[in-house]
Amino acid sequence: MTDFLNTLGIMLYATLIYTAPLLYAALGSCFSEVSGVVNIGIEGMMTAGAFAGTVVAYFTGNPWVGFLCGGLAGAFFGMLHAIATVRLGADQTIAGTAINMLGPGIVIMIGMVVFGSTDSAPLNAAQKIPKLFTGVFDTATAFGRFMDNVFATYASTYLVFLVALLVWFIFYKTRFGLRLRACGEHPQACETLGINVIRMRFLCVCISGFLSGLGGACVTMAISTQFRPISIVGQGFIAIAAVIFGKFRPQGALIGCLLFGFCSGLKVVLGGSSGVNMQLLSMIPYVVTVIVLVLFVGKSHVPSANGKPYIKSK
């Protein structure tokens, strides 16, 4: 029983740890996609956020300033994407691909100059995002240890669930959210009702960059301790996948990210105990996602105007 609780605790902990960065980015992706702009550049924005967060935290010593700057760095690349796609009517896939090259390229170049290496200097405990609830639970009892295993994790992990709730509220309970969703479905109709589609989309793409940046910063400032070129490998694409999986709804994206995080947790636990090949175990999250898609989810509704540049007509 104790062993089981321990294992379960580790697994849930791993689930939370893996889910957090994906969920930040996925919520970001929701903003952009639902407003009608395909943002395949999430990966590049995450990398920029991961780097900026670590560097600022390293030099200021304040993890929260770093975390915020990670978001802002992501937002900067989000703005680049917005300028190209929303203002200038660029092809959204091409611009996003460019962001995926520019983001890592620029930050690693800066890293080479600042640190003389592609890796950043490691953060110490005070510069990392703090853990919450350490010492709150009594680790002498089995249940206390379980709770400690699960909940003594980084503050950024809890924050993301609040953000998810906030995003859901914005999307479905505010006027802004209604307008945002309308922009992705029928921009011309929005314009006739006096909504500034261009401004809405611009803002949404910037927000998507900001949240992606936070997601990236969460990887390097909480899960690991330094920025490395392979810190962000594919999480951005997984986040996009989670959004499509969740049928372009924040609550759906949450489920997608949790499923993915849970499978990653499963991988960690199985990898420790069973003799199964690690490479095969690593496939679990991806295989399970496909299976769940085939069995339960099926076709997803893409916002009608998604991917189409909006040109204001006179």
Binding site: A95, T97, A98, M109, V113, I240, A241, M283, Y286, G298
Partner: protein
């Protein structure tokens, strides 16, 4: 309405000028970054140009460029047919490992059987990877971008798994497969490369790339199949109305695109790599293929040039770290990512000329309407 051809029309109609302009801007932005970081621009670009213009340098550019060209052709083919093959990465990896397995296990076969066999294995593996995604889409309506991202990673781990199997894995401590049989390698003879001052990895791969380029052009432009695929790519509903089986078209498109990406993986292995490593992160040849296809405007000949351009920057970029600034700092090879990223960024925006023109036309319409009324 007769209108004088202005600068705008010229820019909006000439793709070549767009791309050239984007490339110039890419190098300009790269230079700005170098200056901002206090690194010598002249020395960096000098090294870049030097390392790719010598005979051995240019032969290296070709060697580096071949997998990019073929991966680019794979993505370009999918673009033409209305599918965004973001799964080229996984298909590439599957092609590479399939060719490696054949090249290791059937190493005793003579060259003229083994090489085509490796190619076939790679193309089959890539095509299967593409077909799975197509089936999921056509049978279950699953978004292809989503399943491709998943299958990229499944391919990645599957390749790592296969590379680590006994009988395939290197007996030494290296985390990689054994070297494939020399009979599976496309390399030119050592005497020949030495006599002509070529890079010692020079190989026949470029001929395959040229053949694939012509083949893709032929399929798209000269065959009924290509016509159908293109029709689906430009308007799915119209194509369906016209009696084209859209599901079949998506299937065929991804099968061909996947086979080409798999072939690109085999060309990397049999031309330069010699073995498949157990990687910790995706290598990104498939994603590079997307970039190459975009720079080449999905035109087979354009993609060929773009692939060489990409290969040149990758090879030149790997030599950049040799250049030191006055302060002793070396030039980061990521400079090339910044340059290529900027090029692609401006290629995406260059569409702007077309839209400005479109706006101008739209603006004329209401006037015409009110004039008609009056």
């Amino acid at each position: 309405m007769t209108k004088k051809k202005g600068l705008l029309d010229f820019l909006s109609e000439n793709k070549f000028i767009h791309i050239l302009l984007s490339v110039v801007l890419g190098f300009l932005v790269g230079a700005i970054f170098l200056v901002a970081m206090g690194l010598p621009v002249g020395a960096a670009y000098g090294k870049l140009i030097d390392s790719v213009t010598s005979v051995s340098g240019f032969s290296n550019v070709i060697v580096y460029g071949v997998p990019y060209i073929v991966a680019g052709l794979s993505v370009a083919f999918s673009f033409k047919t209305g599918v965004f093959n973001i799964g080229a990465e996984g298909q590439f990896v599957m092609g590479s490992i399939a060719a490696a397995v054949v090249g290791i296990l059937c190493g005793g076969l003579p060259k003229w059987i083994l090489i085509p066999l490796c190619f076939l294995a790679a193309m089959a593996a890539g095509a299967i990877w593409g077909c799975i995604v197509a089936l999921l889409k056509t049978q279950r309506g699953i978004n292809e971008v989503l399943s491709m991202i998943m299958f990229n990673w499944i391919a990645f781990y599957l390749s790592n798994f296969i590379a680590g199997l006994p009988g395939i894995k290197n007996t030494g401590s290296t985390e990689a497969t054994q070297n494939i049989s020399d009979n599976a390698m496309l390399q030119l003879s050592k005497e020949f490369t030495k006599a002509h001052g070529l890079a010692n990895t020079s190989n026949w791969g470029i001929l395959v790339a040229i053949f694939v380029m012509l083949l893709v052009w032929f399929i798209i432009e000269k065959t009924t199949l290509g016509y159908e695929l293109k029709a689906v790519g430009s308007n799915k509903y119209a194509a369906e109305y016209g009696g084209i089986n859209v599901n079949r078209s998506i299937f065929v498109s991804l099968a061909i695109s996947g086979a080409l990406a798999g072939l690109a993986g085999a060309l990397l292995l049999m031309g330069r790599g010699k073995r498949v490593s157990i990687f910790s992160a995706q290598e990104g040849y498939g994603f590079a293929g997307i970039v190459v296809a975009l720079i080449g405007c999905s035109n087979p000949f354009g993609v060929f040039v773009a692939g060489l351009f990409y290969g040149a920057l990758m090879f030149g970029g790997s030599k950049l770290t040799l250049v030191k600034s006055a302060a002793g700092k070396s030039i980061p090879s990521q400079l090339t990512s910044v340059i290529i990223g900027t090029v692609v960024f401006f290629i995406s925006i260059s569409v702007i000329f077309r839209y400005i023109k479109y706006l101008k036309i739209r603006r004329h319409k209401p006037d015409a309407a009110s004039a008609a009324k009056g």
